[in-house]
Amino acid sequence: MSTEDKANDVSADAQDPESNTFAPGPITPEKGDGAGGPIILFFILGLAASMVLGWVIFPKLLYSQKRQPIEFNHALHNELVDEGCESCHFFREDGTYSGVPTLAQCIDCHEEVNGEDPEEEKFVSQYVAKGREVPWLVYSRQPDCVFFSHAAHVKMANMACVTCHGPIGESESLKVYQKNRISGYSRDIWGENIAGIKRNSWDRMKMDDCAECHSRNNVNQGSVQTHRGGCFVCHH
């Protein structure tokens, strides 16, 4: 059968009134056992369930809760030192930033137990006496591929510690460290708010937050040497 014949065949069918299944007539909407209502209901159910999963259950599953090895009172220490944060979180002579203090700094005052706090006693007996560094959990630890210079921000741009780290210096105890089970980093990087909404500049520490401040302040976005894209200024 040639193509033309086929075409003729079809047109012949179409002309046959009995074979026309789409005869015009009143349309009766399906009622009673129709699925319109339940379909919407199930849609809403699915939507609600997944929203609950995504917004409530997922964040709970994503993070494990860890306590710091020693309960540390920033507020108390801050009153006793002269140079604020930099008394313990200082810049080294070569300009690099020391970050979390090591025993070498604590030992100046805590070679022996000074007060009555059981945490201090624990610190002295388990760490100072044994010469073991405290495995502090660092809330602001960035992945290794990120290069961040404290000197550029604190010394050169005169930024306050609070801008990125929040009023941690006023805290009396260390909050629970929420460790991301997948990436291994603290929840403070993404931010407490799972939607990523922030109210304060210190609520998040993602790249967008760096970029936001840099573009707001017209900081050079490129490499100083090449004047081109500055990816490798911060990433390596």
Partner: protein, 737 residues
């Protein structure tokens, strides 16, 4: 209400919409991205305060200063030392990769002894006692002269200790690894009467005429030379490169002149011919500070007219004339030679011809010229009595023949040793120490060197790494690596000023290794009284500090000592010849056979092509095997997977029916290997280029089995003048696999 298919689908769609509206997919994507950056095998540097230790790199003899960054006791980076006279803050890629040699898996961690072909750990005291016993036994049999030593260098306290040990023990057989240094030293000695090293003030010259020297391929002192070449350019100077292959150096030169390989000396003489003919030489120097010019002039004028040179070199007469004029008319022209990185000595006649060019233009011992740098003289150990056995041993001829009537000029002829050992019934070397060298890999004709090492009854390697030579040894007494030991560095090759560097430990030794200097001193103390007495130091550290005297404090403080004002002795005092002048010709030079291009080994009818090696900064090819950082950086025109590519001119490939990327068999009189063809317009037709530094059998999975070792395919061609290896290539054929 019944849950049917429709409502289920509806639930799923709702779920999908809800998921998209929740942070779950976005947060999960972000976390997985970060997770993927944290594979457990990704090394993460130590955190903490950095400290720096100033030291000197000894991975080659460039003498670069390094600043080693540590966090705690972990080395995290090696940088160039700022303000260092040789490399001022820069460092080469091998230098950067030094950490991988320290922490890599190829270290020899304990002294080892081979028993029935298998390595066993042995205690240090047992190893030393065993070697001492063997040494005593040989002396008792009056065979002290059968003990030999191969050293990477002959300058500095460690080579001097080895040499001194042999001397007091009674053997003349101290050998240095060959290089262009051998010929440059001879050229300086024959013409200027100076025992010194050549320094090249490339940076202050305004015209570099390079006869194949790879300024950007590791020639002499790689970092110094590459910086100097930049200064040359910044100062408006130019550089012409003469070699059969478009090397990186040639590509970065103002002119590249492709020459028939092996005829560089003829071209130098042709250029001299033009300079003399046109009267372009500097009369103030030639007339007042030289002798023998007339004799030499006759040789050049009669023997090297343009047509002859043009025919020999394949370069037309006009071009030679232009080169000669450009060279002679430059203010500070400097001619240099020694092919590629300068690993093979080459022909003395080539070096003399090129050295004469510098004399013709009077650019000796001047800024921007060739400066004779005197050997450092800080090692002045007290003379001591040599016992009778030793005196007798020292009377014996050297095993390699150096200094004998056939080879009067050469100081060391390691290239002759395999032949001598393999040809004799009983090996003339009964015991061999090897320090800072890997001859089984880096000497031509590796097979014959390996055979010789197997034939020598006791081979003791001081290598820190399990290299090819160590694998052939009978005992390994591993030295500390350069990041774990003290040592003086008496040479910065090609650097135009007297210089001493200090290598110092940046960390405690990681393994059960021992300083080779300490081992020598301990061995001496095990020997008879007079030998022991010649080594009065408690250990190497004491020896080094006492030797350096006042210099020690400077070296500890600065990391180096340099005579910064030095620019060579004045012409009136510079020449220590009988005439106190530069000698274009003298008895010794006249006695040398005339210039003849060195022919490549092999029968031309059977091997229609010539194979030449080329060097790259991305591979180490001497004592040190390339660490993974280097191998990773190799371009895919050199290595693809484990297969090496050989450079072939498209015209040559066409006649052989070879196309780009094809597997072919490369055969020379020394062996046959599978290679891949890389069509390259930058290599002369009829020539095949093979990189140096691959084809290791040792050094573990990161290097072993990759490519082919040029030295396994090449042989040594004895220079009729010196006996040194004058080869520049070897005849070869390429056939479809």
């Amino acid at each position: 209400m019944k849950i049917d298919r429709r409502s289920f689908l509806s639930f799923v769609i709702g779920g999908a919409a809800g998921t998209a509206l929740s942070p779950l997919p976005w947060k999960l994507t972000d976390d997985i991205a970060i997770w993927s950056q944290n594979w457990p095998w990704t090394p993460i540097p130590e955190r903490g305060a950095s400290t720096y230790v100033k030291s000197t790199c000894t991975l080659c003899q460039a003498g670069c200063g390094i600043s080693v960054r540590l966090v705690g006791d972990r080395v995290v980076k090696i940088e160039g030392m700022e303000g260092h006279p040789v490399n001022d803050g820069s460092v080469c890629n091998l230098g950067v990769a030094g950490m991988q040699l320290l922490y890599g898996p190829n270290r020899v961690k304990n002294p080892k002894k081979k028993v029935n072909g298998k390595w066993h750990d042995i205690a240090w005291e047992d190893a030393i006692a065993e070697i001492a016993a063997k040494l005593k036994e040989l002396r008792e049999k009056d065979l002290s002269h059968t003990v030999a030593c191969i050293s990477g260098s002959d300058r500095g306290t460690v080579p001097e200790l080895l040499n001194r040990f042999l001397r007091f023990y009674g053997s003349p057989n101290f050998m240095r690894m060959p290089s262009i240094q051998d010929n440059y030293e001879l050229a300086l000695y024959l013409t200027q009467g100076v025992r010194g090293m050549p320094g090249f003030d490339v940076g202050h010259s305004d015209f570099i005429l390079s006869f194949g020297s790879g300024l950007l391929e590791g020639w002499e002192s790689p970092v110094y030379m590459s910086k100097a070449k930049s200064s040359l350019r910044d100062n408006g100077g130019r550089m012409d490169q003469i070699e059969p292959r478009l090397s990186k150096t040639a590509a970065k030169s103002d002119k590249w002149i492709a020459i028939k390989p092996g005829t560089e000396g003829a071209l130098a003489l042709g250029i001299a011919h033009v300079i003399i003919k046109e009267g372009l030489y500097r009369r103030d120097f030639v007339d007042n500070y030289s002798t023998g010019f007339t004799e030499w002039k006759t040789t050049v004028m009669d023997g090297f007219p343009l047509e002859t040179v043009s025919k020999m070199t394949g370069i037309d007469g006009e071009q030679i004339t232009a080169l000669a004029r450009d060279f002679a008319r430059a203010r500070k022209p400097l001619a240099i030679c020694g092919r590629g990185a300068g690993q093979t000595p080459g022909s003395l006649q080539d070096f003399l011809a090129v050295h004469m060019l510098n004399a013709l233009v009077g650019n000796l011992n001047r800024a921007g010229g060739l400066v004779a740098v005197p050997e450092a003289d800080y090692i002045s150990w007290p003379e001591a009595e040599i016992d009778k056995t030793a005196a007798k041993g020292l009377q014996q001829k050297r095993a390699d023949g150096a200094g004998s009537t056939d080879y009067t000029h050469a100081r060391y002829l390691l290239n002759r040793l395999p032949e001598v050992v393999n040809a004799s019934q009983e090996s003339p070397v009964q015991m061999l120490f090897i320090s800072g060298a890997n001859p089984a890999y880096s000497m031509p004709d590796t097979q014959s060197m390996s055979n010789a090492l197997e034939k020598i009854p006791l081979v003791v390697s001081f290598s820190s790494y399990m290299d090819e030579t160590a694998a052939h040894a009978d005992m390994i007494l591993p030295n500390h690596t350069y990041l774990e030991r003290y040592e003086d560095v008496a040479v910065a090759r090609g650097f135009p000023k007297p210089y001493i560097g200090l290598t110092r430990p940046v960390i405690e030794p990681l393994y059960n290794t021992r300083h080779v200097g300490d081992v020598i001193i301990q061995l001496a103390k095990e020997m008879e009284d007079l030998i022991a007495a010649a080594f009065p130091w408690d250990d190497y550290q004491v020896c080094l500090e006492e030797t350096l005297e006042d210099l020690w404090d400077t070296l500890v403080e600065e990391g180096f000592w340099v005579d910064a004002e030095y620019s060579g002795a004045d012409w009136t005092d510079a020449f220590e010849t009988d005439t106190s002048k530069f000698e274009f010709s003298n008895q010794d030079i006249k006695a040398l056979p005339g210039y003849n291009p060195v022919r490549a080994e092999g029968d031309e009818s059977f091997y229609p092509l010539v194979l030449i090696p080329f060097d790259t900064m991305r591979l180490a090819s001497e004592y040190i095997g390339s660490p993974p950082f280097l191998v990773k950086s190799l371009e895919n025109t050199i290595l693809k997977g484990n297969e090496v590519l050989v450079e072939v001119n498209p015209a040559t490939a066409k006649t052989m029916g070879l196309s780009n990327g094809k597997i072919a068999t490369l055969t020379t009189p020394k062996g046959s290997y599978k290679v891949r063809v890389y069509l390259f317009d930058g290599i002369m037709p009829g020539v095949v280029g093979l990189v140096r530094g691959l084809g290791h059998t040792a050094y573990g999975k990161f290097l072993a089995g990759k490519g082919v070792n040029y030295n396994a395919l090449s042989g040594s061609v004895e220079d009729p003048v010196t006996g040194l290896d004058a080869s520049w290539g070897i005849r070869a054929k390429l056939s479809q696999a």
